[in-house]
Amino acid sequence: MTVLGGIGFTAPWLLLGLLALPVLWLILRAVPPAPVRRRFPGVALLLGLRDDESVSDRTPWWLLLLRMLAVAALILGLAGPVLNPQQERAGSGPLLVVLDATWAGAPRWAVRMELLDAQLAEAGRGGRPVALLPLTAPGPLQFQSADIWRSRLAGLAPEPWQPTKAQIETARAAVSAAEGGFDTLWLSDGLTYPGRAPLLAALRNKGALRVVETGQPVLGIGPVGFSDGAVQLTLHRSDPGAAREVTVLAQGRDPAGTARVLATVPGRFDTGETTTTAALSLPAELRARITRFEIQGQRSAGAVTLADDRLRRREVALIAGRGDREGLELLSPLHYLKQALAPTADLLDGALLDLLPANPDVIVMADVATLSQPEEVALTEWIENGGMLLRFAGPRLAASDIARTEEHPLMPVRLRSGGRTVGGAMSWGEPKTLAPFPADSPFAGLPVPGDVRVSAQVMAQPDPVLADRVIAALSDDTPLVTRKPLGQGQVVLFHVTANAEWSTLPLSGLFVQMLERLAVSSSAKPPEAADLEGTTWRPVQVMDGFGTLREAGTLPGVAGPALAEAPLGPGLRPGVYDSGDRRLARNVLGEAAALSPAEWPEGVPVERLTLRPEQPLGGPLLALALALLAADVLAALALGGRLWPMRGGVVALAVLLLSGLAGGSLAAQPVGGEDTEFAIAAASELTLAHVLTGDARLDDIAQAGLRGLSDTLFFRTSIEPAPPIGVDLERDELAFFPILYWPVTPEQPQPSGEAYARLNAYLRSGGMILFDTRDADIAGFGAASPNGRKLQALAAPLDIPPLEPVPQDHVLTRAFYLLQDFPGRHARGRIWVEAAPPDAEQIEGMPFRNLNDGVTPVVIGGNDWAGAWAVDRDGRPLLPVGRGFSGERQRELSLRFGVNLVMHVLTGNYKSDQVHVPALLDRLGQ
């Protein structure tokens, strides 16, 4: 392959064809365009006219250029151009591939593996034996066939730590021990770490060294902190390049337990910065849910930081037995507790029964002796569900009779009455100091300051269980802190006061540390080794190099100091560790971490990991040539005047092409338009509706009836309805219709549950259903007419109030017309409406009762109103009613009933208002 200007050509000699282009230009230019044939009647006048010049018009320059470009593209395309051609590298002899295999390479691990695979394949073609040396898991060098290594590539994974000293030493020893020389390919992750220099020297002793790097900066995130009410995040990058924005995702579980992104934090590296910070302010509840922060798009362990107790601000309820004495702040039993806890915990104040529903993590009771019965029950229940009760002694507790004779559930031990005072003015002996903490105590390992003095305490009754419950004692072995489990929770008693009256303990730093150990508070700073002295931490979840958490399984526990300070390695993996109630996260990057790029000595060739694969350009160029030639055809036709006769074909072709392009988008048109159309049709105008029964004739009659009623309303009133609509209860939305006409036929299907739910919602929101059994009520309701039985079945699931026959003073009788009865095609049937409230009474002298509320949700009758209303398209009555003039009168009355009904639905009980009484009386002629 020949490379010209970054583009390789598989057949470079074809490019000589480009030299022929000028010749082609001249030839094409000399050939005139084909003559245009035109029909022209005026040719009779042209006969005999001679041309002045014998030279024809030349081919236009742009057409020539088009053709030149087409030919040039053709020649270039056939020459086989390739973008980003791969240069073959020569080499022979054994090859050692050194991999950093750390988390820093995890984001582009797949690319690395592809590159490695390609290198191995090349070595395999060259018959070179290959050895692989991942520095995070080194072993003796095994020079084997490249194919064997290729099959093992899938097993390689980045580790979440940098190579430790021991590992580098192992690797160096393995390199030195290998016999003979070899070339080395070092796939670096781009970060420096101590101990690289000797390894580099050892490798260069053996042969040529080549380094491949990604060239992408490595991003990392430090441990989270909490200050100023916000979560503080520290972001690192290895390359102080141009400004860059990153997004940090706060992952956690939502209240439903689903893992999701709870918040995002933007971070920005300014130009030249390698470290930046971002702050995230979140409500405490949400903050406590966060389990990890990760940099978006960076799939590596270094771009993940796990959250632990430091983010979890515990809620501590403080309850004091004595009311605060004004002005005596320092004597307040809670003063030192507040001072100790305020920076790291959320403090709650209030009455005990008010605090318990808030479910605090810890309840601190300072010198509280007795609790009421409900308080005690509630508190016990809370502790048994995992709460922690921390009690402090005091004068009241000492003076009370609690836990004297038998163990009180809320006290860890029995107490002797009165307590004791040592080292006071009236007593012998010195104030006591603290004994060192026993090894099984949660305080184990904490240093005991010499200046802590206890001058008074409450004394525990000697008891068989006492020894197990003491977690801190004085120098004379009297218990200072006792603890007992209660259910899932625990009760802890400090045998001294929470203020400095009885001891100097609250004044010392030990007090804060003890509270931390008891998980009453959690430090906002990462723990020091000394803080964790004597503790053992069990791994809960550990991270792999990609930052994925997995269960720790049988990994051994880690000593506290090592967890705090030891470098990460196979024995200490990043992850979440716990000890008792406390949780600590060990992250890849510590507080003081900084990412610095790897430096390579002079003479070591460093290649960037190029991600540009070979891209043959021949196809696009040939396609371009074809397109240009097609354009030339069109242009030549246009010049020759032959394009327009072919217009139909051209248009068809264009339509074909465009439809091919637009087909996808057309097919993607939303198909749910039907519902919207129905809604628009029904809601844009007032529309009467009837229920489709499935009986085509009945539905037609109902449609025609509502059409007749709509016409009548249109002519006589200001209601101007749109043409009526038949609704399918199972499918259509009902909310658009003020009234539903429901003819009852024994054959119609029972609506489904969802339809009834919609119907009930419709009735509750002010709709009205007019049931029409169409049987003239021959049997009376509740009797054996088939329509009546069907009506009962249909209406049973409906939310219908008590009914009564229409009373004489119902508003239906005067909503628009004054009516006494409500005939349809049948004249006699009674109709039923919602019953008036029982307290409605007729006032003497008033024609009707004062019924001002509500519209009846149903009207039930059997007079076949739709039959009487029905008109055909021309407005002629469809069905006969009665006989002769009296029949027409009956039809008129039925229409008046329809008008009244719709008026009643639309205006409510407006006409029921007593204001109208005089006018109505006047009309009634009274």
Partner: protein, 291 residues
Amino acid sequence: MTETPDLRVRAEAEAARLPPLLARADHLAGTVLLGEHGRRRAGLGDDFWQYRPAQPGDSRRMIDHRRSARGDQQFVREREWPIAQSVMLWVDQGASMRYASADALPRKADRARLLGLALAILMVRGGERVGLTGTALPPRRGRNQILRLAEAFSLDAATDYAPPEHRAMIPHARAVFLSDFLGGVEEVERALTKAADRGVRGVLLQVLDPAEESFPFQGRTIFESVGGTLRHETLKAGELRDRYKARLAARRDRLATLCRATGWRLGQHHTGENAQSALLWLYRALDGGAA
């Protein structure tokens, strides 16, 4: 033959916009074909038309004394003129007429037939006899003649440039020739001369396509007549434009000269223009002698 009703409908529409055409009466003596109904103007018929005040120059014998005796003024009794005129049409059916330079434009033949039939309808409505020159369709009255004309107009001739039909011309009738007159001018000359010999006067309407007027062609072109009988090749069509225009003007001059010599009138119409104006012009040209 679906063309016929369409053509007729459009022609009726055109004709409906004009008052009935009244042919000039100065050829009354020549054409002795009396019409059945009056000409709606004063004349030598038997039917009373109107009384008009006597004017200087009126013969005293013309004074109607029964009318004049009722007052001081003298009246002349006029009678109606019951005359029918014969109008003969020749619409060029040659292939050269079946040309339109653009889709938006009608073919020249379509426009010429439309004008011809519209004119025929006006004539028939006015009581005239309308027919074609030649023996195929002699002048007759009545609505049926319209149908026959429409049918005759829908027949295309195969020849490229059809010569004017001048046989069987009724003496002292009127004639209307609609064509592009791009063919041999000698035929036109012969026809007009013959018509003038017989006392036939009339109108030539030259119907041209706008492209034939402006000659908007460029480049190497082979021009063919519509029938394909004539052909002319040029290397630069644009160079021919001025000379073509000059020849077209010369042809028009020749026709105008011919018309002046024979008493005919020459009109010009482009298919890009409104047909109504052309029909109006034809109406004026046929009726205009009276004005």
